[in-house]
Structures are given as C-alpha cells and as structure tokens.
Amino acid sequence: MNVVYLDNNATTSVAPEVLEAMMPFLTQRYGNPSSMHSFGGSVARDVAKAREKLAGLLGVSPQEIIFTSGGTESDSTAILSALATMPERREIVTTRVEHPAVLNLCKNLARFKGYTVNWLSVDKEGLLDMNEVRSRITDRTAVVSVMWANNETGVLFPVEEIADIAYEKGALMHTDAVQAVGKIPMNLSSTNIDFLALSGHKLHAPKGVGALFIKKGTRFSPFIIGGHQESNRRGSTENVPGIVGLGEAARLALENIQEENDRVRRLRDRLESGLLASIPAARVNGSRRHRLPNTTNTGFEFVEGEAILLRMDDKGICASSGSACTSGSLEPSHVLRAMGVPFTAVHGSIRFSLSRYNTDEEITYVVEELPKIIMFLRSLSPFGRENLSSVCIAQ
C-alpha cells in the first residue's frame, strides 16, 4: 500500500538531492575537517559551504551559525547561555504552548535552579496577547523564549515584534523556529532576535543535525565544552554528512519557499475545507490567518484521536493526534488545552502537516477516506447523537 505521509511536523523525508550531497562524506571523504592533511582539511570547505547555504536561508552571516545535534540541543544551548551571561537577571518569559524542548527546560530551571518563569497565555485561537507580553518582559528578564511556529497547530507568533520589546528591556530573545525555518521567508539580520534554533529533519535533512543562530555581538556561553570546533562555541567533531545535508536542505528550502507558500498552502486548504465540508461537528484548532502554510489541526467531536489514527493507518495515511491516548501520558495536548479547546474536540484532534512532496491525488484520497472513518467511529460513540444529523450515524 502506498503511504500518504501527512506528518511532516513530526519528521520529513530526506530529499534525494540531500542524500546525494551527503553520500561522499559517508563513503570516500571521511576525513576530519580539523586535520592538517588535505584529505581531511578539504572537508572543512564543504562544512563552510553548508554554513553559507544555511545562512542564506536565514538571512544572516555564516559566522552567526553553529551546527548542533538538533532542535533540543539548540534550545538548551540558547537559553542556558542567556542565563549564564546575564547572572544578575533571574527571570524567563516564555509561552504555555512551547515544545517540550523549551517547556520542560524552563520548568526544570524554575524547580531546581530557582529562576522565575513568566508563562504567557494564549487565546482560543492560540494567539498571544501583546499587552501581556509587554507587561511580562521587564528589566529582570534574562531571556524571552517564544516559538516562531507552533508544532501542533502551525500558529505563528510575532517573534520579531517580541524581540523588539525584549531589546528595549535589555533582555535576550530566543526563538524555537524548528517548525518555521524553510516554510516562511526569514531575514534575521534585520531583527532583534539573538538566538534561533532549528532542526535538520524537519526540512528534509536527516535526523541528528540542527543549528543555532547566535546574533553577532551576543555574549555566549557554550553548552558542550570540548575541542575548538565551531569557533570554540561547541566541542565535538563535526557531524560532516549531517551538516552537508542540512546545507543542501537549506538551499532547497530557499529555492522552494514560494512553492511552499503557494502549492502546499493550496493543498492544505483543500484538505481542510474538504474535511470541514463533508464532516459535521468538525473545527479547525488555531488561527487560520496567522498560520504555517503546511499545517492544519482539525478537531472531530465525539470521537477519539487514537482510534482515528489507527483506522487512518490501516488506509496508509500518516498524521498525529493531540489525544491523550496516543502519548504515553494520560493528558491531552497541553497546546490545545492552553487554547481552551473543549474536551469534546480535544480528544479527537488530528494534525495534518504537509510537505512539497505531497500531491493533489493524495489529498483527494484523504478527503474521501477520512469522512468514512469519522462516521464509523461516531456510529460507535455514545456521544453527540443529538448534535449530529442521522445521516452520519447510519453506516
């Protein structure tokens, strides 16, 4: 069975061009870029080229980028560095809907290191209240960490505007942009953003490689201490194949960013409107206006997400759910709960996240199959009968 992969916010396929770019460094060109001999040393030039390509995607200079093992390391590096270089400030400002990489780090810093964390709320569309943002960032704030795009809903935060507020108060600004990089145009050099975290495997590079942008002039304290790699900012021999892959993926992302915002957006919109039109008691979670072009989080009331995913899996369709039952924990998505999504919809919420490799035919297939799945599960459910037309209960 063909797989229809609509779970690109979880991870993406490695682009063929990326794999091709990486192959020499997994085979003949295995040298260490720090070596004095040209066999190894020449590899350093490829690492430098990759850094330039990534800098091009972000609109920064190559010296402002260090390569890491992924998004989580980049987030930890940025936040811990900010705290270490601003010891007189003991407060963090972040949101309730961050990825665990930031959320749990901040909880941990509050619990074990005595920092005060100011948690920003979101409204029912998943958006921040800018007045609250302004009032929470003060001269006691060491770092503001706000994600660029939410991984579950795709909702975008105005991080450039928030960075201006942080700058005014002398606080550092970090953004977890793991879901945003490659999907929306960026020009970081014209912003007050000090740190930006990104991950390779969300933009068609392999897993295990990521990067951190550190604005020129920002004081920095390394997270991994060791050799002189990455200009003394991160020890450890470079993950050369991964870095070369990430560079090529960045080049492709820049090349395709218009397609991402035209064709992928159209596919997403067709999927979303198709599902809403054919499935009663369905709703979109999160602002449709301020949103990534590739993501839709749709809640189907009176049915449970894991059951939907299992039946979709049976049809070869891959997506994710904010339902409690799909995670190890019993609690449903912290993002949807922070948005006040009613329980009737939160358990049955499905995230579809597309990529430029998805096709019209795939979307047609999903729009045909999903209503049948929802109708069947609703025919089993004790809830919602009075709210739904008899048409959808009959199976």
Partner: protein
C-alpha cells in the same frame, strides 16, 4: 506506537455487538468525554433465568477501549449474570491476548460498566465507588475505593500500575503520595489474609483453556519445534487431556516422547498445573 495484539486489532477494526439495544433492560455507563473514554453497555437479561440474552455497546475511546468493549460483550453473552459478574478486568485483557500495560484501564472500564448495568437491573444502588469514598485523583475523578479494588484484584504494587489501571495519578501528580499510601495499606491487608485465599484462581472455562493453550502453543512451543523442522497441532481438549498431533520431523523423531513431556511441562507451567498431553494420530 502501541503494540496491539491481533485480537485487539480484530475487535477494533470489526467490533462485535455495536450500537444501542432498544429492548435493553439493563444499561451501564462509565467514563466521560472529558476523561477521553466512555462506555455505555446495553443488556437484555432473561428475568426468569438471569441469562444475558444480548449485549451491545457504544464506546468513545481509543483502539483498546473499543476492543475491550467488543470483547466484553462477546464474553458475557449467554452467561448468567452471576457467572458474568466473576469476569475481572484481567479476564478481558486475557481474552484480547493481552493489552499494553498503559491501556489496562480500558479493561477496567469494561468490567465497571457491566457491574453498573447489573446494579441498575437488580435495583441496587449503582456501585458507589465513584460517589462515595474519598476523591484521590482530581484530574480523572478516581476515589480511594476504586484504587483499593484494582490494587487488590490485580495484585498491584506500584504507582505506575495504579495509573495504568485507573488513570489515577496520570495528570498533575499531586495525589501520588496518597496513592502510594493506599497501595501500602492494601498490600499490608493482603499479606495478612491467608495466602490461599488471595492466590486461588477461578477455574478456567473450556473455551478460555483452549484459547490459552493455543496461545502458549503459538508463542512458546511451535517456534521451538519449528526451529528443528518439527511442528505440533492442537487436536482437541477433553477435560484436562490435551490431545495433540506431532508434525514434520517430530513424527519420526526418536525423542518424540521427550517432546511430548516438554510440551506438557510448558502447558502446566503457563496454563494449568493439571493438564496432561496425549499424542493422537492427526
């Protein structure tokens, strides 16, 4: 991703006894939308014999919640109410070829719905564990009485298990200490009771026995024999006599007797201690 048994998948993808029962004379409801799973069980009970003539369900929940509901209806149909009341959540899980430990609460939900339906039918007050007792877990509305019962019935010793079976403690975590002290208290009581009373298992029905024997043969015995080019097939069960036919290289193997006693000891160990294996011509 959860590892579900084939039986769970079968009951999830093709659930049995779905829907409402218009002439039901007993209905049991547990769970809620907020909790993430809920089960409404409809029964038609013969008032003279108390035999369960029909059972249907409506379930909102994950794959294993739907499968557990379907399994429950299959298990209780045809039984008398008293027979069916003896079914524990573990029996439901066993019927399904096991559930992931994090999903055991789905089998508990099945058992609870049936008890609620029977209480209503008999005009007894609904099982009041939910209402009386002291609320321990506020996130999922679980009382100390409910926790005591699953600890006792499933021989539970850890907080994690209590969460897997009841969801209690799976939210904010404020009740963890309280749950730990309930576990300690119940285990103290269990230790004081006579060991026989605690450990005695109800005898299995023939169907359960056959299912269990087949499962052990599939998982434990056949793979071993197949490695050596042999095989075995279950032919019948007569009381405690397990009739099997050896296949492949086993039929001509001089140590077929050894094979037979090997199968027997596995079945004694994993199914029931008084089983005897006999070889028959297949």
């Amino acid at each position: 991703m959860w590892e579900y048994s084939d039986k769970v998948k079968e009951h999830f993808f093709s659930p049995k006894n779905v829907g409402a029962l218009d002439d039901a004379n007993a209905v049991g409801e547990v769970g809620s939308l907020a909790c993430g799973d809920a089960l409404k069980l409809f029964l038609k009970i013969d008032p003279d014999t108390e035999r369960i003539l029909d059972a249907r369900f409506q379930t909102f929940g994950c794959g294993s919640a739907i499968a557990s509901s379907s399994a429950l209806t299959e298990m209780i149909k045809g039984k008398t109410v008293d027979e069916a009341l003896k079914i524990t959540n573990q029996d439901i899980a066993d019927f399904l070829g096991g559930l992931p430990k994090e999903k055991m609460h789905c089998s508990v939900m099945g058992r609870d719905a049936f008890h609620a339906a029977v209480a209503g039918y008999r005009g007894e007050p609904a099982p009041k564990e939910h209402l009386e007792g002291e609320l321990v877990c506020e996130c999922f509305g679980v009382t100390d009485d409910q926790i005591r019962r699953v600890v006792r019935e499933n021989n539970i010793s850890t907080l994690e298990e209590v969460t897997n079976y009841t969801k209690a403690g799976g939210g904010c975590g404020l009740c963890h200490e309280k749950i730990m002290s309930i576990i300690a208290e119940v285990r103290g009581q269990l230790a004081q009771e006579t060991p026989e009373k605690v450990r005695v298992r109800r005898p299995m029905t023939n169907i359960q026995k056959i299912a269990k024997i087949q499962e052990v043969m599939e998982k434990e015995i056949r793979p071993m024999l197949q490695q050596d080019g042999g095989d075995v097939e279950l032919v019948d069960l007569e009381g405690n006599r397990v009739l099997v036919a050896l296949r492949g290289i086993c039929t001509s193997c001089p140590s077929a007797g050894l094979t037979k006693s090997g199968i027997e000891s596995k079945l004694k160990e994993l199914v029931e201690p008084d089983l005897v294996v006999e070889e028959v011509a297949g």
